[in-house]
C-alpha cells in the first residue's frame, strides 16, 4: 500500500506542476537564466564573505591611505576616509539586499493578509479596510521617512525595513484584494463552505493558493524596486549613516564633484551593482510572469 502511493506520487509530479513550468520558462529564456545564476551567485558571495569581514574594521578611518586608487592592497581603492571600498561594497550589497528582501517579505505578508480578508469578507469590512488603506496611500512617504531619520538617532537594517514596510504594503494589498474578490465568487469557495470549512481555512487553504501566482510575480518585481529604494534615500542623505555602509552611501560619495570626476572607483562599482541587481531581478520577474500566464509562455 505504502509503496503503491509512492509510485503514484511520482507519476503525478510528471503532469506539469508549478515548479516545472517555471523551470522550463527559465531554460527557454537564457537572459532570465543568466540573471538567476548571477543573483544566486552575488547573494551567496556577499552573504558568505560578509561573515569574515569586520564591519567596524572596514568603516574605521585611516588617514594614511586616503583616496588610494585600486591596487594591490585595496582591490577597489579607498574613499576620503581611507576606508576599503571593496569591503564596503560587500557589506553594502549585503545590507541593501537584506533591506530589499525584508521589506518585500514584510509588505508581502501584511498585504496578502489584509487583501485576502478585505476581499473575502467584502461588504462593510471591505469598505472600512479600503478607506484605511487609502489613508496610508495619501501619507507623504518621503517626508515621514526624513522626519523618522531625524528622530531616531541610530537605526539599523531592521528599523529601516520596518519604516519602509509601513508605507509600502498597500500596493500588494490592493492587488490581492481585487483577485480575491473575483475568486471568492467561484463555486469551489461556496462548496467549501457547505462542506463545513471555517472561514479561516477557506481564506488560507482555498483562496491563498489560487491567488499565489499573482503574488509571487508581484513580489519579485517589488524586490527589484526595493533595492533601488534604499539607494535612493541614502543618496539623498536620508538613508544609512556612513558607519553602516550600503550601496546608497557609496553612491552618495558621487555628490562630491571631485570624486565624480577623478575617483570613479568609489562610486562606479556600487552603481553597477545596483543596475545589475535590479536588471537581474526584473528579468527573473518577467520570466515568472510569463510562466504564470499560459498564453505568454515560451517554454
Amino acid at each position: 500500500m505504502e509503496a503503491n502511493v509512492e509510485v503514484k506520487a511520482k507519476e503525478v509530479i510528471k503532469s506539469p506542476s508549478g515548479f516545472s513550468v517555471v523551470w522550463r520558462e527559465l531554460i527557454k529564456d537564457k537572459l532570465a537564466l543568466i540573471s538567476l545564476i548571477f543573483l544566486i551567485g552575488v547573494t551567496a558571495f556577499v552573504y558568505g564573505t560578509a561573515i569574515f569581514l569586520d564591519q567596524e574594521e572596514i568603516v574605521k578611518v585611516d588617514l594614511f591611505s586616503i583616496y588610494e586608487p585600486p591596487g594591490e592592497e585595496f582591490i577597489l581603492g579607498t574613499d576620503y576616509g581611507g576606508r576599503d571600498v571593496f569591503g564596503q561594497l560587500i557589506i553594502g550589497t549585503r545590507n541593501s539586499l537584506s533591506i530589499a528582501i525584508l521589506v518585500t517579505l514584510m509588505t508581502g505578508i501584511i498585504g496578502i493578509i489584509y487583501g485576502l480578508v478585505s476581499g473575502y469578507f467584502g461588504g462593510h469590512i471591505d469598505n472600512i479596510m479600503m478607506r484605511i488603506l487609502d489613508f496610508f496611500l495619501i501619507l507623504p512617504f518621503t517626508m515621514i521617512v526624513i522626519a523618522f531619520v531625524a528622530i531616531v538617532p541610530k537605526y539599523s537594517v531592521w528599523t529601516f525595513s520596518l519604516i519602509m514596510t509601513a508605507f509600502l504594503w498597500m500596493g500588494i494589498a490592493r492587488l490581492v484584494r481585487s483577485k480575491a474578490l473575483a475568486e471568492k465568487e467561484l463555486d469551489y469557495i461556496q462548496a467549501a463552505r457547505t462542506l463545513g470549512t471555517s472561514n479561516f481555512k477557506v481564506v488560507f487553504k482555498h483562496l491563498l493558493p489560487n491567488v499565489s501566482s499573482i503574488i509571487i510575480v508581484n513580489m519579485t518585481i517589488n524586490l527589484a524596486g526595493n533595492i533601488g529604494l534604499e539607494s535612493g534615500l541614502s543618496f539623498l542623505g536620508f538613508g544609512f549613516p556612513e558607519s553602516t555602509p550600503s550601496l546608497g552611501t557609496l553612491l552618495s560619495y558621487a555628490r562630491n564633484p571631485q570624486t565624480l570626476e577623478f575617483r570613479w572607483w568609489i562610486w562606479v562599482p556600487a552603481s553597477l551593482m545596483i543596475l545589475l541587481l535590479m536588471l537581474a531581478v526584473n528579468n527573473v520577474g518577467t520570466a515568472l510572469r510569463r510562466a504564470v500566464d499560459a498564453r505568454q509562455r515560451r517554454g
Binding site: S15, D187, T194, L195, G196, T197
Partner: protein
C-alpha cells in the same frame, strides 16, 4: 412534521443606486415559497432560468441570506445559521452545477474528498486515505487516482468527485443544483443513474433543482414548479405530467420533446394550441404584475396557483 419544511421563504436582493449607494428597490428572487420534503424521496424544483429555484436551494443550505421565512430540518430551525460547524451542515450537502469551477484547481483529489472528513471527523492519515478510496470506489472512480488534480479528469468524472464530497459525511439530504446541466447527454444519464443507485444505498433524500423536465421526470417523486420567485404548481410527478392545471405548467409540459417522428405534426399542433391558450388566458392566471397567485389545493398532494375567481 416533515423532514425538511420550508415556510414562506423569501430571498430579496437589494438594488443599489443613486447617491451613496442607497437601496432603491429589491429583486424578489424568491418571494414566498413553502413546501415540505419527505424522507427518502426525491423532490424536484423546476422553472425557467431566473425563476429563483437555485436561490431557494442555496438559501436552505445557508449560502444566500434569507430575507424572511423559516426553514426547519428535522423539526429544528436552521434559518440563517452561518456557523461553519453546525450540526445540520453534516446532514445537508450540496452538489454544484458546474463541475469545473466547484473543485479547487490547486488541490489533489484526496484533499478535495477528505475536506468534509477533516472538518467533522478526526481520522488518522491512514484511515482518511482508506475512506477516500472507498468513496472514490463508490462513485465509480479509480481509487488509485487520489493524488491527481481535478484538471486531469473529464467533466463527468469531476462531477463524481463532487458527489463523493457531498456523500462523504453520510448526509441525510442532498441539494443537487442542476447537477447534470453542464454535462453532455451520455454522461448525464450515467451520473443520474448513479445518483439513484446511491440514494437507495445510503438512504438519501434529494432536492433536485433543474430546468430539464426529462431529467426531473426520470428522477423525482414530487415536483414543484416555480415562476418569478413563486410556486405555480406542486404535486406528485404523475399529477404534474399527466394532469397539469396551471397554464404555465401545461406549456412547460408540452415543451418536452418527443422523439417519435410520426407524432411530429400532432405535437406541433398540440403545442400551438397550448401556446394560444397560454396567451389568451395569461391574465386569468397571473396578477397585474405578472406574478402567480397563492396555491390552492386540488387534491391532497396537488396544489395549483389559481386566482380567487376560479
Amino acid at each position: 412534521m416533515g423532514f425538511l419544511k420550508i415556510e414562506d421563504l423569501k430571498v430579496h436582493f437589494p438594488i443599489k443606486g443613486g447617491l451613496f449607494g442607497r437601496t432603491i428597490d429589491h429583486v424578489r428572487a424568491v418571494d414566498g415559497v413553502s413546501f415540505t420534503l419527505e424522507k427518502g424521496k426525491t423532490y424536484g424544483l423546476v422553472g425557467e432560468s431566473g425563476s429563483g429555484k437555485s436561490t431557494t436551494g442555496r438559501a436552505i443550505i445557508g449560502l444566500n441570506h434569507v430575507t424572511s421565512g423559516k426553514v426547519y430540518f428535522e423539526d429544528k430551525e436552521i434559518t440563517g445559521v452561518t456557523k461553519a460547524k453546525s450540526d445540520f451542515r453534516k446532514d445537508i450537502q450540496m452538489i454544484f452545477q458546474d463541475p469545473y469551477s466547484s473543485l479547487n484547481p490547486k488541490k489533489r483529489v484526496i484533499d478535495l474528498v477528505a475536506e468534509p472528513l477533516r472538518n467533522f471527523e478526526k481520522l488518522s492519515r491512514k484511515e482518511e486515505r482508506i475512506r477516500v478510496q472507498e468513496l472514490l470506489e463508490l462513485v465509480g472512480l479509480n481509487p488509485e487516482s487520489i493524488l491527481k488534480y481535478p484538471h486531469e479528469f473529464s467533466g463527468g468524472q469531476r462531477q463524481r468527485i463532487g458527489i463523493a464530497r457531498a456523500v462523504a459525511l453520510k448526509p441525510k439530504l442532498i441539494i443537487a443544483d442542476e447537477p447534470v446541466s453542464a454535462l453532455d447527454v451520455s454522461v448525464q444519464a450515467q451520473v443520474l443513474n448513479f445518483m439513484k443507485e446511491i440514494q437507495d444505498e445510503l438512504d438519501l433524500t434529494y432536492m433536485f433543482i433543474s430546468h430539464d423536465l426529462g431529467v426531473i421526470k426520470h428522477m423525482c417523486d414530487h415536483i414543484g414548479i416555480m415562476y418569478k420567485g413563486r410556486y405555480v404548481e406542486e404535486g406528485t410527478a404523475k399529477e404534474i405530467f399527466d394532469n397539469p392545471q396551471h397554464i404555465y405548467t401545461k406549456r412547460l409540459v408540452a415543451a418536452i420533446p418527443d422523439i417519435d417522428p410520426r407524432k411530429r405534426e400532432e405535437m406541433k399542433q398540440f403545442r400551438a394550441e397550448v401556446n394560444s391558450e397560454y396567451e389568451q388566458s395569461y391574465n386569468d392566471y397571473f396578477n397585474e404584475e405578472g406574478l402567480a397567485y397563492g396555491l390552492k389545493p386540488i387534491t391532497d398532494t396537488h396544489l395549483v396557483a389559481l386566482p380567487e375567481k376560479g
